[in-house]
Symmetry: C2
Subunit: 484 residues, 2 copies
């Protein structure tokens, strides 16, 4: 459906005098030579290696994240970027408090330790820990629809068991994530002592998957909330199936630690023709604390930085300014991205943001170019995709949001695009201790850089405006097609 809609739109545009093929011979030749260099370059790989080794885990708001900012400033400066700076913003710090290893065990009927991890934002157990009976829910929907006695969950540990399936696009993630983001509210509202969930993600390995919870109306949890690894969730499921009453003990130290500073690190290649026009490409600098954030999002840092650097090295300035933003505090709720967008509203430069995109979905190959632009500009992306086809890249639809850290800008009307990576095995590693540098394949990372170098060049060296044109879009909408 989406493909058909795009093709139709392109035909309309061609007919209405807009060039479907808006890429000059020069732009195409230059982009291709950038890609050729990128495919032979190990710069992204080395940057990711450096970040994940020299900083390692870099939880938002911690000294490790601050060290990552220092690393980024030094790196950008050494690589010759312009206007290198940090924009600081305040955030509320949450930490695990003790160690990445948390103490969780079945105490009855079959005593054994479990591999578990607190969810971001969770409270600690009472000092000395707690022990309670498990109430088993096969799915988050079952918990939502629970109509047991009012005190049925009082003082109990709610366990939610939904499983996620692997897809190329990661589309099952949002659904599977509901138990993680919203589960605590359901549990706490019914008086539960805590929440345990089967890890989100697709891994069968014994790693627990962390991640931030959601906080409606700024309410924070008073109960502990943890994910247990899939094999441990299997144990709980089997014991539940046996009909035995099950008790679990936990002792955790997680909690909110007050306001601290985080920051976005910004660097630029100033445009030669229209320096006030900004193509923003990003990744995030923070990571979860149990892994070293290689796939999420060390790879993204390496990819967008290397792509910009290769454009710089090629010696031709693009027409527009390329702004690389390494966001802070993404994992804990897009805090850096929101701060960035607010600051642009305040300094009046929001409208100068021509288009944005983020790399934040691992390190596998890019397989699709998606856009989120005005219908008149869809043909420009079709033409871009043709140039990138030799990299194995298909054309996606025109409803892309650009990536997590682009959400606040997109909501303010900045056009977006995305180079979609193959996410089939992303959730094997994502938010677990297993997100480490060895999972990155150098050749796949280089393919990303090639795609990003071409993409960034095409977007920065044109005068096409990607913003939706209200009159045209209204017509499209009337025909039942989504504007974005």
């Amino acid at each position: 459906m989406m493909r058909l809609a795009v093709a139709a739109a392109a035909a309309v545009l061609a007919g209405s005098g807009v060039q479907a093929q808006e890429l000059s011979e020069d732009a195409r030749a230059h982009a291709r030579s950038l890609a050729d260099v990128a495919l032979e370059s190990d710069l992204a790989y080395r940057l990711t290696e450096s970040l994940t080794t020299e900083i390692g885990p870099r939880l938002a708001g911690t000294p490790q994240e601050a060290r990552a900012r220092d690393w980024a400033v030094e790196m950008f400066t050494e690589l010759g970027f312009e206007n290198v700076r940090v924009e600081y913003f305040p955030m509320d710090l949450w930490t695990r408090g003790h160690s990445i290893f948390e103490e969780v065990a079945i105490t009855h009927p079959y005593p054994q330790e479990l591999y578990a991890t607190s969810l971001g934002g969770a409270a600690a157990t009472p000092e000395g820990g707690l022990e309670a009976e498990i109430v088993f829910f096969d799915s988050f929907d079952d918990l939502l629809e629970f109509d047991g006695a009012e005190d049925a969950l009082e003082g109990k540990l709610v366990f939610v068991n939904d499983r996620m399936t692997a897809t190329r696009t990661g589309e099952g993630y949002g659904w599977a994530n509901r138990k993680r983001t919203q589960g605590w509210v359901q549990a706490e509202n019914r008086g539960a002592a805590g929440l345990l969930i089967r890890s989100v993600g697709t891994s069968s390995h014994r790693f627990a998957h962390t991640g931030m919870m959601s906080f409606p109306a700024q309410r924070l949890p008073d109960i502990p909330a943890l994910a247990v690894s899939a094999p441990d969730a299997d144990q709980i499921e089997r014991i539940h199936a046996s009909g035995e009453t099950m008790r679990v003990a936990l002792r955790t130290y997680a909690g909110w630690r007050g306001e601290v500073a985080s920051g976005n690190v910004i660097a630029e290649i100033t445009g030669a023709g229209a320096p006030e026009e900004i193509v923003i490409i990003g990744a995030h600098l923070d990571s979860w604390d149990t892994g070293t954030g290689a796939l999420d999002d060390g790879a993204g840092v390496g990819i967008v930085t290397a792509a910009a650097r290769l454009i710089m090295e090629a010696g031709v300035r693009p027409r527009r300014t390329i702004r690389v933003v390494l966001f802070g505090a993404e994992e804990v709720g897009l805090v850096g991205a929101r701060a960035y967008a607010s600051a642009r509203q305040e300094d009046g430069t929001l409208d100068q943001h021509i288009i944005g995109s983020e790399s934040d979905f691992g390190a596998r190959k890019v397989w699709r170019l998606s856009s989120g632009v005005g219908e008149h500009a869809v043909g420009f992306f079709d033409a871009m995709q043709e140039e990138m086809e030799f990299l194995g890249i298909e054309r996606g639809g025109n409803s892309s949001g650009g990536g997590p850290d682009m959400i606040p800008l997109a909501a303010m009307g900045v056009p977006m695009a995305r180079l979609d990576q193959d996410g089939t095995d992303y959730f094997e590693f994502h938010h677990t201790p297993n997100d480490t540098f060895d999972k990155i394949v150098p050749e796949e990372l280089a393919q990303n850089v090639a795609a990003w170098a071409m993409f960034t060049w095409f977007l920065a060296d044109t005068d096409v405006d990607f913003r939706a044109r209200p009159e045209t879009e209204a017509e499209d909408a009337a025909e039942g097609e989504p504007a974005r």
Copy 2:
């Protein structure tokens, strides 16, 4: 070479009047029907599930291992085995002491926590922990050959980096294991404060591989000794390569806790014709403490028990007695196996052990039948293999030791045989937290049971003596072929 030698031996035997084909029509038909039932049975799978769920980890000498013995006695009794009993033996208990999670972190130059685990037998750190500089050795051989200053390792943490490669037979394990078993002596003799090694095993996941160390002349270590996961070893290797001095802090609680009891659980199917003749098939009941011992060796427990039970169920008693032994305390130095063999010397029944075999190499399919028998009996195994070929089983050589818990019996002259399992990915999971029930494929486990049912039936329902015949073997030896 081995195949040629076997073929030659078989030809000689055929010429010397021994039947190469010693399996009766009845035996072959019965074995085949056992296999057919086994391929449809989930008994081994259910037994392994029960052991790994209801007991979970079962470190030798702990209450968990005692619970596993109770489980086994009850299980054997319920399944209708005869002469179900426990033979207790004393052992020295070693435990991690605190939790399966151990506190290890790089403190300089790039502070971050590491995923590590104490090696069996290691000492604790001094109270409050220790912090020391890493001295990096790329291989155990480099450590052995180290000719630095006499005090070069004094107070340091020795790190040994050898990597193991995956093979079907697991043959790289012994070599890779030297750093684990012997590393501490080298480190301690040179005054090191502790030993760290890259995990033995082939996994790239963030699991540390534990396992027992060796203790020459009953000497026990005074220093902590730990394995770090492969991704963490990569970090150490990269930091070393950068030329930075590296410091690591650890706090561990491991140690020896004094003498406790362990035990072997024994159950039988009494032979109809020659009940005093024993075919011993085994597995081990204990496991390491960080996983639930599904592959090592819950699967083995399930396989040999189910094979014997299916023979019982078929309603025809074999000529010889089938004795199933679930050994205790295998992981900590074959303590149960040694106790069993000593007890048989003492009670005078050693010579009644006609042949032995153990299942202790995971849960992948059996691909080879190996023997360790007198040359006159090689033809019997050739004939067995022909019957088992439909299961995808090849004929191996005649130098099999029967499996770890068979070593003491083999050393006392008991003939051995083995159904070799595909070990290509065994060391992805072995001795790590990741050795859990979900790693077992039901169909592959059933193939094992089919092979074991046939194998056990053939060995138990014959009058062939598998012991080497000194005169014949001496001749073979004179021709330069190994007797076993």
